[in-house]
Symmetry: C2
């Protein structure tokens, strides 16, 4: 058996997330099908994370094992020729058999995109969260600085989480404005279920004056879900980088 | 009766073009429905052009008549509150009763977007035409210069056209590269059916060396459809500006 690592990118709009599930088509399912067509083997694919329905990926990694090797260029070109337009293979590498797309990952970076233009933009509505009030860049930048560190983010995750250890280290957090689009960028050694969407919701509350930056550490330490902001919609969330 | 002019923008992906038709949902139909909801009148809307199924508009104008006036801000806010995410009202003006969105228009500008990156981009596939070979900016720029002028563009239009006069004046034509996206921008006093998509197809043939720039004037003057390039797909075409 040989193990390969795929670097892919996808527009998640039309998918029920990464993980195969009974109620809708998923990225994992499409990739498995196309890899099986290409290799004439029954191929399973293991992803670096389970992105939710509607979440996008500028960069996502997954590994698979095959009996009959193909050159990596054949995987790249072959898959891109048969994958739907909203999934693309960016690269492919042969890796050692103990490499694991999920467990080997040392960290991840997500981006949450806000649109705060005065004029609605129909081309961005699908890919950003349109907010009615201008984002206060200064307040949100200050919020970002407060989020960096090692904390128990129990209050910043959905009760549906399956892990017990809820301590994570946020290593970088910042905003970047590109015209009327504000990219909220956050890097950590790992994220809990819905964590980025809740942190982005808290950033929005800070921007709107609903939550004060001086209370952030108390809110984290309270571990109470209801003290943090709302879980923002999935369609404006992007897995941006995975670190190995 | 009072006449209003709407400036709108739309992502045409999910629509069968502007004009109401029996087989699918159109922008005109959605706007008429929403305006009728807002005004409680039966409102008809006249557009500045009939964009084809899948074509987008950064800027599109249409006029309508109502018995009971609303302030223009109420049309803008009211429509944006009830329109689907892929159609947006950018502005609204009251105009004289002899103003006509189509007949008063003095010219239009379209953009055709090519993507020629080495790595497929799933976020741009829906909005650009992915081409396998790098666009030759120099050859296409030279082609653009040759297209400017007053010609009979009979050979650069679909045989389905309904007009008799096929002479049009192209006043500007240029390309603008933004990374791996090449915007082919063309302005004229009017365009024949499929004219931009055929000119863009000819530009692509020039880029690929299939058509020589020295032959362009002969190809135009031949008035033969089969000497020009293919009609490129609609999803990469944008109505960009309308001049009154």
């Amino acid at each position: 058996m040989s193990r390969f690592l795929l670097k892919i990118s996808y527009d998640g709009t039309n998918y029920h997330g990464w993980q195969v599930q009974p109620n809708g088509i998923t990225i994992q399912q499409v990739l498995c099908e196309k890899l099986s067509v290409l290799t004439k083997e029954n191929v399973g694919v293991t992803g670096c994370s389970r992105t939710d329905a509607g979440v996008h990926a500028n960069e996502f990694f997954c590994h698979f094992d095959v009996h009959h090797e193909l050159p990596v260029s054949a995987f790249i070109k072959g898959l891109n020729a048969i994958l739907p337009d909203d999934i693309a293979v960016l690269n492919c590498l042969q890796v050692s058999n103990d490499f694991h797309a999920r467990y080997t990952a040392k960290g991840k970076q997500y981006i949450y995109k806000f649109y705060d233009g005065d004029i609605p933009n129909p081309f961005l509505k699908r890919y950003t969260l349109t907010v009615p009030k201008k984002i206060n860049d200064e307040l949100v930048s200050e919020f970002c600085k407060k989020m960096i560190g090692r904390y128990d983010f129990c209050g910043f995750s959905s009760s549906k989480r399956t892990v017990e250890d809820t301590v994570r280290t946020i290593t970088a957090c910042e905003i970047e404005r590109q015209g009327d689009v504000v990219c909220f960028k956050i890097t950590a050694d790992g994220f809990l279920y819905n964590m980025v969407r809740i942190i982005a919701g808290t950033a929005l509350d800070v921007s709107n004056g609903k939550i004060c930056n001086d209370d952030i550490i108390n809110i984290i330490n309270s571990k109470q879900r209801d003290r943090a902001g709302a879980t923002l919609p999935a369609h404006a969330l992007y897995l941006n980088k995975v670190f190995y």
